[in-house]
Symmetry: C2
Subunit: 155 residues, 2 copies
DNA sequence: CCTGAAATATCTAAAAG
DNA sequence: CTTTTAGATATTTCAGG
């Protein structure tokens, strides 16, 4: 799974705009269209490119409230943690979820329509699990950065 | 900026796979290719679709450490906060950054190669700003959920 | 590995109902 | 809104260096 500078340039360009024609990509990196096509297929096959996705404007869909939540659990029992993680991941309004080491156990990022929806989700996800000791809510006043791209710099 | 069920279905499909041919989209939602084309153009023009992007596998690029950081600032002066936000947003390893109300002022999600890179970035971003009072590091043991899509359900 | 050309598929716009 | 048409663009394969 080695990535040469051509691959990295292609990946950077595709993160920026996945619709760039392969011919245009070829011009940018000085490769033929066919070479670009072959590389992209390989990158997708190896799983370096996971998928192509449309990024939507949350506000246009009525989702304009982001909330960061820190969760502390009662028990670290593996089966309980697994169940929690599954329920978190299954919630469409949970945009990110991390199981972390430190002052708390989980950090979740919610994207919700309004506070009412947020409260309803906390009741559903946290109280029904019977394993949440406490959770702390941080309401985002400003989404300074979202939808960032993965750095493609060489090691 | 009204979205009917057709639009929502198209948006959901495009978040899942931005490369789905418009003919296939049309079959899925029972619309002609031409109708799909028209709707997609309108959705892009209105800014509902912000961009098309390739989602990469961070591990394949040598980025496999996610760190959540909570930052408290010394001063809430607007010009200082603006400057901090700009420097945070400009850092490629900062995947998300939120200015929040609650126990801390900023929450950042870093995607880094290793701890060494993380420490170097904190020095650069936090110490050089001269406005960070404290910061708390939460290392992700498991990325339970990332790269989620925006819910497209109707209000 | 690459290039360049040919074949296939897709997109886009226009015309007409 | 639909379908159909036609031409432009993009993708993919293949021959050959």
């Amino acid at each position: 799974m080695k990535l040469d500078p051509y691959d990295r340039a292609l990946l950077a360009a595709l993160q920026d705009d996945a619709r760039t024609p392969q011919s245009a990509l070829g011009e940018q990196v000085s490769l033929s269209t066919a070479a670009v096509n072959r590389r992209l297929k390989a990158l997708a096959g190896e799983g370096v490119i996971e998928r192509f996705s449309a990024q939507l404007n949350p506000k246009a869909l009525g989702y304009d409230l982001t909330v960061v939540v820190e969760v502390k659990v009662e028990s670290e029992r593996a089966d309980l943690l697994d169940q929690m993680q599954r329920s978190f991941a299954a919630c469409p309004q949970v945009q990110q979820c991390y199981y972390v080491a430190g002052d708390c156990d989980f950090v979740l990022i919610f994207l919700v329509r309004d506070m009412e929806q947020y409260v309803a989700l906390t009741r559903k996800l946290f109280f029904e699990s019977h394993n949440v000791k406490t959770f702390k809510t941080l309401v985002a006043m400003n989404r300074v950065k979202t939808g960032a791209t993965v750095p493609v710099d060489a090691a």
